[in-house]
């Protein structure tokens, strides 16, 4: 454990979970880096928490209202708008990101629970500027989208599906992609894209 326990009232909290924050009424749920620095040194509002995340390989520090979802934090605090808000209740998969390498619904993840962890979003999967991840290329090649709103979540889920070893046949892909809905009905293309990308991902 790299965390020193501290006591606050009757609830022991970890060092990173220590209560600090800003005090204005109506403050946004998320304040990012620069503001966090100020808040951290000033100290203040009960309830807000300082959180450190690694997002797409970059260390980020945020002051968060505990109510903030990881999805809202990414979109509004860090301007990473790739992950989409569809249902906001874990039912559609549009918000799928990877947390410590595993796919999660970022809308049902409290951002404070991602403290100290690594988040990967659709913005972080391309190997280099200008290149695409094999799964992104496969979605284009197989026309695996129409409106595109569900696509970032589909691609993040699809990459995880392959990495988990759940892409060995069409039925297994359908089962393990069932958490991502596509209202345009591009499922046939999505299935083909995953079948195409899976061996390319394994090659690396």
């Amino acid at each position: 454990m790299d965390e020193m326990p501290h006591e606050r009232g009757d609830i022991p909290v970890s060092r990173r979970g220590l209560v600090i924050g800003a005090t204005l009424a109506g403050v946004p749920l998320v304040r990012s880096d620069a503001a966090a620095q100020g808040a951290a040194t000033r100290g203040s509002v009960p309830g807000s928490l300082e959180v450190s995340l690694t997002v797409n390989g970059e260390a980020r520090r945020l002051v968060l209202d505990p109510r903030a979802s990881l999805l809202d934090t990414l979109r509004e605090g860090l301007a990473l708008t790739g992950a989409k808000k569809g249902c906001d209740h874990g039912q559609c998969g549009a918000c799928t990101v990877h947390l410590d390498g595993r796919r999660v619904a970022s809308c049902l993840t409290l951002a404070v629970q991602a403290d100290g962890r690594a988040v990967t979003t659709i913005e972080g999967i391309a190997p280099a500027e200008g290149d695409l991840h094999p799964m992104q290329q496969a979605f284009i090649d197989h026309d695996a989208l129409q409106c595109g709103y569900c696509t970032p979540g589909q691609i993040m889920a699809a990459i995880a599906c392959v990495q988990e070893g759940h892409a060995s046949n069409p039925d297994e892909i359908r089962e393990y992609m069932s958490g991502n809905l596509c209202r345009c009905g591009a499922y046939a293309g999505i299935l083909a894209a995953i079948q195409d990308a899976a061996p390319k991902m394994r090659v690396g």
Binding site: L108, T109, Q113, S178
Partner: protein, 331 residues
Amino acid sequence: MRPFSYARADGQAAAIRAVSAGGAGTRFLAGGTTLYDLMKLGVEAPERLVDINALPAIRGFDTTGPRELVFGAGARMSDVAADPRLVAEYPALSESLWKAASQQLRNMASLGGNLLQRTRCAYFRGGEPFACNKRVPGSGCAAREGIDRGHAVLGGSEACIATYPGDWAVALAAFDGVVDVAGPNGSRSIPLDALHREPGTTPEVETSLGRDEMILRIRVPVTPLGRASTYHKIRDRESYAFALASAAVALRMEGEVVREARIALGGLATRPWRAREAERGLVGQRLTAEAARAAGDAALRGARPGHHNAFRIELGARTVADALLIARQRV
């Protein structure tokens, strides 16, 4: 969403103390897939959350023991569903996990939290405009005269017909699972079958768990019935939906003859529903299609339809029958 404070517990005793001392508004937080969802709907409004995810003691699971399988309450559904020994020796337990939710949610949701998953009744989740005795005791039940297609046909009361939505608890009920819990006054063990309550006149009280009691682990006795088992789940769509009817079934056969049977129903009742009479009726019988169907009918005996859910009585009986025939193939 109502504001709340959040703290991460760094020990089991500290977590229990914090929830106990914090009063009614203080809650344990594990995966959050039920609690945070309901907080967004305003159905849950805790003042303080005590995050227990960092407690190492509840995270692991061990399916290799000679006498029992042990599952930490904080183990994730996806990890346990994929355990090779569970897949091979207790397929019903594995299936009850991977046929629930989506892989995203299974990566988040804990085994203990899953047991306490709350009903999907739309009038409960819908909040304010709807009467709901579970959400606001004494306010009435909008489901009784409303759209009750997904509501319980077993175990309901005048006050509440909300279906228990989980799958894992149903499979555990069939295997005589036991839940170890700890609270401010020490530890105790609760048979899974005694964890969930029928609504009666107090539908807001869903389990026999104290507010400040924490689930530590779930234990399942090692049994030869594991291998010939299945969790058969029938849904409106093939995947990622709650059960219209489900059956956890396990068999010990001697040739064609049933020596022991376990049957538990999901999606049909106000709690995980063990069908012991149906089990007894199978013992000593040859497991023909007719015998399986008779067991299905016995399992649904006493079911009471509402306005839109009568079809699920027939569906439930057929689900049990099919499950028995699937399990028989696995002997």
